[in-house]
């Protein structure tokens, strides 16, 4: 029952509409204009992609995500500094033309550290999310379709993994396995596969009832072939959403752990490791440029990934739209 209160544009003055125009009206007009021009039914691009591109927040997310990702990849071109090069003649300098984000306590250029740190942080987030998704989907798709002992076992194990608050389990494993980049990704994968497994399994349970699956079975196709080749593509939407959201979660966790000094070893620059020094109250008070920009970059990046995930969900799953 809510009528939008925003006076959108000048068209209201020319045509005395009975109600105010909303953004949806403008969108509808655009669609109608396209239809009249005969463009609407040109089957270029899938419906999901177009829906995604119509979502302003998702597009914003995609743009920010791409900018930060590209800047990290192109770090050697964008900055002449080595992120680990200590320069004791230039310690704790505030941002200047020479050092865009200033320098830290050992004179390392923070802009370079943020760019190179992004490489590792994004690698940890995206890499662990992909690994967790591969494991979860491999098990979930097959066991969701076939069931049996593998399904029962995986279900019990995932219940146990998910009973732990994630950060507690991660820290527990860190204390046992020790700190390293590979260990951290391994630990994230171990703690993260359960959620995506559950989701893939649930999707398969509902897809299993569809008639085309019955048809494929009556053709005599093997069960792995039906599960992975014919059913998996229909579950891809939620899987993609899940990968995006767990990327965001892993980046946040890496930052949190490294901030505590328990994530990636301090010798490797990551976003969390740059923030680590902010535990020192003097740094926090006097050298805002060390921790404020990199915190903003992490937040912006995670925000963009979350927007992309939301956009993907809206584009692929009509029932989730609010």
């Amino acid at each position: 029952m809510s009528i939008n209160q925003t006076p959108t544009d000048q068209t209201r003055i020319h045509t005395p509409a009975p109600r105010r125009r909303t953004r949806l009206d403008a969108q509808f007009d655009r669609i109608r204009a396209r239809e009249e021009a005969g463009l609407a039914r040109s089957g270029s691009g899938s419906r999901a992609v177009r829906k995604f591109l119509n979502n302003r927040l998702a597009v914003f997310g995609l743009v920010v995500f791409s900018i930060i990702l590209l800047a990290s990849i192109l770090a050697p071109i964008l900055t002449p500094y080595d992120p680990n090069r200590i320069n004791l003649r230039a310690i704790l300098q505030p941002p200047s033309w020479e050092h865009w984000f200033g320098t830290d306590r050992t004179g390392r250029d923070l802009f370079a550290r943020v760019l190179y740190g992004g490489r590792i942080s994004i690698l940890v987030g995206l890499g662990s999310a992909l690994l967790a998704a591969i494991i979860g989907v491999l098990i979930g798709v097959y066991s969701g379709y076939v069931g049996g002992w593998l399904d029962a076992l995986a279900m019990r194990v995932s219940e146990i993994v998910m009973a732990f608050p994630q950060i507690i389990l991660v820290l527990l494993l860190v204390s046992i396995l020790g700190q390293s980049l590979v260990n951290l990704m391994l630990i994230f994968t171990l703690t993260g596969w359960a959620g995506i497994y559950r989701m893939a399994r649930a999707r398969m349970l509902s897809i299993r009832e569809e008639e085309y699956v019955l048809a494929l079975r009556s053709f005599g196709l093997s069960r792995p072939l039906i599960a992975y080749k014919h059913m998996l593509p229909n579950a891809l939407g939620p899987i993609m959403v899940n990968i995006t959201l767990s990327t965001a979660a892993f980046i946040l966790q890496e930052a949190g752990l490294s901030f505590l000094g328990l994530g990636v070893p301090l010798s490797i620059p990551t976003w969390g490791n740059i923030l680590n020094v902010a535990q020192d109250i003097r740094v926090l008070q006097t050298a805002w440029w060390i921790w404020l920009p990199v915190g903003a970059v992490i937040s912006l990046f995670v925000l963009s990934v979350n927007f992309i995930g939301d956009g993907l969900r809206d584009a692929t799953d009509p029932s989730q739209q609010g």
Binding site: R156, I168, L171, S175, L260, L284
Partner: protein
């Protein structure tokens, strides 16, 4: 109803047992045993190996794995969690001294986030599609995207270091007796901890309210000619809020995870703080016990949520 509760508990018991077993396995696999915890590493070198062995035997460490596990497990059931590696303090007493601080922080954050989150969520559902709604959606997204510890740092920088409104960290000062003395210490950590929770509650309350508003009884109420606020508040809000409140239990893992980091940022002397220092010093018995207790808390909370849901909605217990 009773059979439903009993069935749920019967499902939980083997799982809790399996988790205890895994935790014990972790303890066994990590370096060090009860003897090395008891003896100062500097003096251990000068001790007679035969003597150490005798001590191990007397403590039952030479017995087979399942016997040791059973001894550990029965001790656990009696509230005897073993001893910390650093200082040999009973873990039960560490937890007893640390728990109140954590509970205080968690309770304030939980109450605050549930109130604010459901109000904002309902507001956003009532104004669906408006500027307020999209603004709240973006704010909610910001709430889950900004790292909690970064929120904490900014809060300390602005409100403690620059404005001086609140203390930088800690829970108390010498001479503080009542809760009101300590209140300034509590404000920042509790608010920062609330942020992520509030964002989650808001999202959930919004979709729950939208769901309630689309039901038939809302149409009935409206067609009876009730004023809009009565329709929304008395008929919609009440129905929408029940699941939101019940789901408090499901937010426990987020709350525990959040408090681990927030307690560290604000030097809040709670369980999370103890957990981090135990992880740092590789004090495995403490790490494992706290992890075990947090899992048990989560399992218990999910049991309570299930039972409450079944009490409210009869379809649940008849359904499966």
């Amino acid at each position: 109803m009773l059979t439903y509760i009993i069935r749920r508990i019967l499902i939980l018991i083997p799982m809790a047992f399996a988790i205890c077993f895994l935790v014990y396995l972790g303890l066994e696999l990590t370096p060090g045993d009860a003897v090395s915890h008891m003896i100062n590493p500097d003096s251990a070198g000068s001790m007679d190996p035969a003597q150490l062995e005798a001590l191990r035997q007397s403590l039952g460490l030479g017995q087979p794995f399942h016997v040791r596990f059973w001894a550990w497990f029965t001790n656990l059931m009696q509230g005897n969690f073993g001893y910390s590696m650093s200082g040999g303090v009973p873990i039960a007493s560490i937890i007893a001294t640390r728990l109140p601080a954590t509970l205080e922080l968690a309770a304030v954050a939980l109450v605050f986030s549930t109130l604010v989150g459901s109000l904002l969520g309902v507001l956003s559902a009532l104004k669906r599609g408006s500027k307020t709604d999209s603004a709240l959606t973006v704010v909610g997204m910001l709430g889950v995207s900004i790292p909690e510890f970064f929120f904490g740092l900014v809060a300390i920088w602005v409100f403690a270091l620059n404005l001086g409104w609140f203390p930088v960290g800690g829970r108390s000062m010498p001479g503080y007796v009542t809760f009101w003395d300590r209140l300034p210490h509590l404000v920042m950590p509790a608010m920062v901890l609330s942020i992520m929770l509030t964002a989650g509650v808001m999202r959930y309350a919004r979709s729950s309210m939208l769901d309630a508003l689309s039901r038939d009884f809302i149409k009935t109420a409206r067609s009876k000619g009730l004023p809009e606020w009565r329709v929304n508040l008395l008929h919609g809000f009440r129905v929408a809020l029940t699941p939101v409140v019940v789901l408090i239990g499901f937010r426990l893992p987020v709350l525990i995870g959040g408090s681990v980091i927030i307690e560290q940022v604000f030097q809040w002397p709670g369980i999370g703080n103890e957990f981090i220092s135990a992880v740092r010093s590789q004090d495995y018995p403490v790490v494992m016990t706290i992890a075990l207790l947090s899992v048990m808390a989560v399992l218990l909370a999910s049991l309570i949520v299930d039972v409450l849901t079944a009490v409210i909605d009869p379809r649940v217990r008849l359904g499966d």
